[in-house]
Symmetry: D2
Subunit: 336 residues, 4 copies
């Protein structure tokens, strides 16, 4: 369904052209002639070309779609929350899911040490990057397949499921052999070739919000994955780009309850990338939980000063222990 | 203190001119010649013209101030939190302060009814607009002085202190006769003539963040008020403007803990203006408290459909009761 | 006229409430029931409360105004271009109007020297700030009334009309005694108290676009001035705030032809504030003229390194001479 | 080279840790102790980890890199303009290069008809999408390889070189078999896997600016391609995302002269995507040329109302003829 607003001085011919195209496309127009201008309501499911077609016609001021462009993602399509089970961890259900780990897998000692801490702190899933999208071609790009092997080793030692990023459609199969959840990073959130590829596997996908995606576009990215057959999609707010540069990005905290209204998919928050500053991770993590997030993804490192990437936003092990305790108390208070 | 980065191909003459001006202004330059380019550190308090002067010189690539431009506002200047006492309500201390009320004072019945609810719900201060800055000259502009009188009446009936907006330097004195706290709205946050005027009175001022102000600029606006002699300034994050239009503004949740780090002033959050949507007010209010806000400002209305302004973002009385209960539980859990 | 889109699961009661309010307000609703949802068209001039009222009702997903909120400003209201005559200079007509001068009036020698250059370069109007809105309370705030007197002196010597900024509703009368055009700066573009005041005088007003105002809000600010009786409004695009910080602001070049479509008012561009960098002023000035600007406002200074404000964006006299020549050639080529 | 600004209350131990790491990494620190705080200059080429390492240390307020992060892209590395020769068309030289064509290749008749117009209008290169990145999985995604064949046919008939987008690292080789220039779209501008792949071929690449990339990030994307061995990179400003939604994006006109200062690579402008509105394409195209663009990329269609994508921003053939004439006149006037 869409609304076509004609210009104030649109001619009868202009209006006729719109009506003709609408009818040719198999829709029913409802014409309302006001004192100032004519408005045409078009009934039916307008997904497809008709919006674009009508927009180009003479005398048309604007076309306003009134249906949402996404379908499988929407709560209108599925009322109850989607709960995804990953090796016994339920994501999107009644309890909070905590993912933690280093930005990058750096070596065996590092990932095993951090994995043990993540486990001990009471988190549920281990994160760690093997393929890293870096803004500079001269920065560390990740250990690649070796990183995947180390993640598998850490899983074996701790029992924690692992999540890691995939950046190339070619490597989806490879990454899916090792990871329990595949992550699509913010810079690839509109990499449709990649979205289609992860839509064809049967492993859950965490899709981070692009720093430039509004909510509708973001949900359309999830729709890409679902439209290709993979319904196990986890959303993750990680900050958008704004004029404020004090923080790395601006956490769009309202997006969390909004997505819960619009969609049945689980919604996480990533306070590490949203803020880029260690000291802001705990307060923003708590805020996300208070706003209704289903889970958190947090970067932690024993020696941030030696981290090969993003050390400034990693919290220390003792900060993770404290944060998990605080979040549990908060979470209990809210659910009461 | 500032850093002057010279261009790669800056000449010796270019460098000399910088040194000369720096010394003329009474500062000491420290020159570091690198392989690629020369960098000049300038020691001393560079507030004033020297930054701008040097920026215009030939061969200068950029000038980077390393001191913060604000002083009285900074936590470096004052370590302990500022606590402001308003008719027995302590703002910025160990307990959360809740401000609630309608967007506009509309008539006696309306303001008294809402004031009673605000009191009963356990909130501490009553808000209500008498002078309204509206984007359209054809919208309701507030009751003016009559609105101030009605607020005073509501205070008399409930004992709640009142806060209301001032939009014109001419009216600061008038508004200060009635209000316990004067509010500067987001659109006037860089109205320096108004800031100077409220800097000269001895009533607390709540300064909302401009929707286009970065944190440094925002704190400079508070500095304007303090530099004029009024130290009782309350800050309030109310959302910034971004590309996301699903919400009225984007609540910059990280700003709350950040301001607490940078400044000793109390920080509030206004989830009503930040979101513009009733259903998002409770989750975003909770998020702000979890992030460390000293207080909240919330719009409430018994009949939002009859509100003369901003009805869509006002919560209902029963929603306010529930929200206050939830926030108290949350607040207790955090402070444990 | 407005469109009310109901939620997918809106009840018949929800729809009835909307129809009732619409009719109570004196409008005629047109109901279109689609397969998915109901849409209600409301005919008539909906300026006023009805949009806000309906937005708060249960079952309403969104309300879409289809009329523009501004009227006097619109080209629908007045077809032909507004041409404003200032001491013999026609603004908004078939020839380009060039305004140049320093950011601030600093002293007699400075303003007279620059005024002579501005005149000699072939520019038409002299700019110079006497009351300066500065982000820091510790920066130079302008010479005040003495600055106005010096501008009047420069006008006397050169014959050039003068434009200067007004920042306080109190000072509108004072500034109007000296200036030929009053300027409202970007930070005051939504200072409605000030807009109303300049709406009551009979001198032209140049209204700069706020750095966070979208076009509709910007035109509403002009509507404020016109609704108060002053029809001689000049618009000026001076850059908006975006995530890109390499330039001081981001010149919204498309706004120039867009405003010419939407409004009959003259549109200027200010490449000095838009870029903040001397080397970018000439190319961006040319771009603005190519995009259809009616005029330019450019900062010039003989000794930018001694300027008391904004020296980094002021071009030198010889750069102004060259720019004016280039722009004339460009302007001739376009009009051919 | 970088500057490390210590916190006001940094301890001697904090400073020592920084000095130690700087020296371990093989750099020379220069310490400047001011009254307020200590600043440490680090000489040498700091590309690599040292910036990140230092940022995580205690007592460090901020780290300011003073070298640019890109090298091969910079004008400091290569003074003279890069000129790229594509089948006899020189790009980046003294004459303007005009690229035009439909958003998508739709069928043989359409592309041949438009190609003939593009040729006749005096444009130099034909554009047309075969692989289309669309925000909806339900929209037309392009003809794929068949589209490439049709482009090759159009080249054969007209002699015009062709440019088309590649969206998947897998398809780079395929697209390079047909296209004379490969295009990387805005949504893939930080798809590093794709950038690396086009960096390995020996065909020119047009890299569009991401709608959320600042200039430094954008130039780093070009650096990715060059660092992989392909030096024939063409940049293209196509609008960034801002809060202004009247236009599809906001053309960052200043970026054109700025990139010309920072880099030796050719810079184009795409007024079609920047504005999204047919009526704004001609004025914004002229503005880009006036600002110094080396070329333009323009969407044209004989029957925009039947276009399978982006019809609203395509100009008509007669508008293209007029625009090319206007631009030639403008271009002549500027170069005089």
């Amino acid at each position: 369904m869409m609304i076509v607003v004609m210009e104030k001085n649109a001619s009868i011919q202009n209006i006729s052209s719109v009506l003709q195209i609408v009818e040719e496309c198999g829709f029913t127009p409802h014409v309302s002639k006001g004192e100032e201008r004519t408005v045409i309501g078009v009934m039916g499911d307008e997904r497809g070309l008709i919006t674009e077609k009508v927009q180009t016609l003479k005398g048309v001021e604007k076309v306003i779609p009134t249906s949402k462009p996404y379908k499988l993602v929407s709560r209108e399509w599925k009322q109850e929350n989607t709960v995804i089970n990953v090796r016994g961890v339920a994501i999107g259900g009644s309890t909070l899911t905590l993912i933690a780990g280093p930005c990058s897998v750096e070596n065996e000692e590092q990932i095993l040490e951090i994995a043990a801490t993540v486990k001990e702190a009471g988190c549920h899933i281990l994160r760690g990057g093997a393929f890293k999208p870096r803004t500079s071609p001269y920065s560390f790009q990740g250990l690649g397949e070796q990183g995947l092997e180390l993640l598998a080793l850490a899983r074996e030692k701790t029992g924690l499921p692992v999540i890691t990023e995939v950046v190339n459609p070619n490597q989806v199969e490879l990454v899916a052999q090792y990871a329990d959840i595949l992550q699509i990073g913010a810079r690839n959130s509109q990499n449709f070739a990649l979205l289609q590829e992860v839509g064809k596997i049967n492993k859950p996908v965490m899709l981070k919000r692009g720093m430039m995606s509004n909510l509708e576009e973001y949900l359309m990215c999830a729709e890409y994955i679902m439209a290709n057959g993979n319904y196990d999609v986890i959303l993750c707010e990680r900050g958008i780009r704004t004029f404020e540069t004090y923080t790395r990005n601006t956490m769009d905290i309202s997006a969390i309850p909004l997505i819960k209204q619009l969609s049945h998919l689980p919604v996480f928050a990533d306070p590490s990338h949203a803020t880029g500053k260690r000291s802001l991770v705990p307060p923003v993590a708590k805020a996300a939980v208070a706003a209704g997030a289903d889970g958190l993804m947090i970067e932690v490192h024993h020696h941030p000063e030696n981290a090969l990437s993003d050390g400034a936003q990693a919290i220390l092990p003792n900060e993770l222990y404290k944060l998990v305790r605080d979040i549990r108390a908060l979470s209990d208070a809210i659910r009461r």
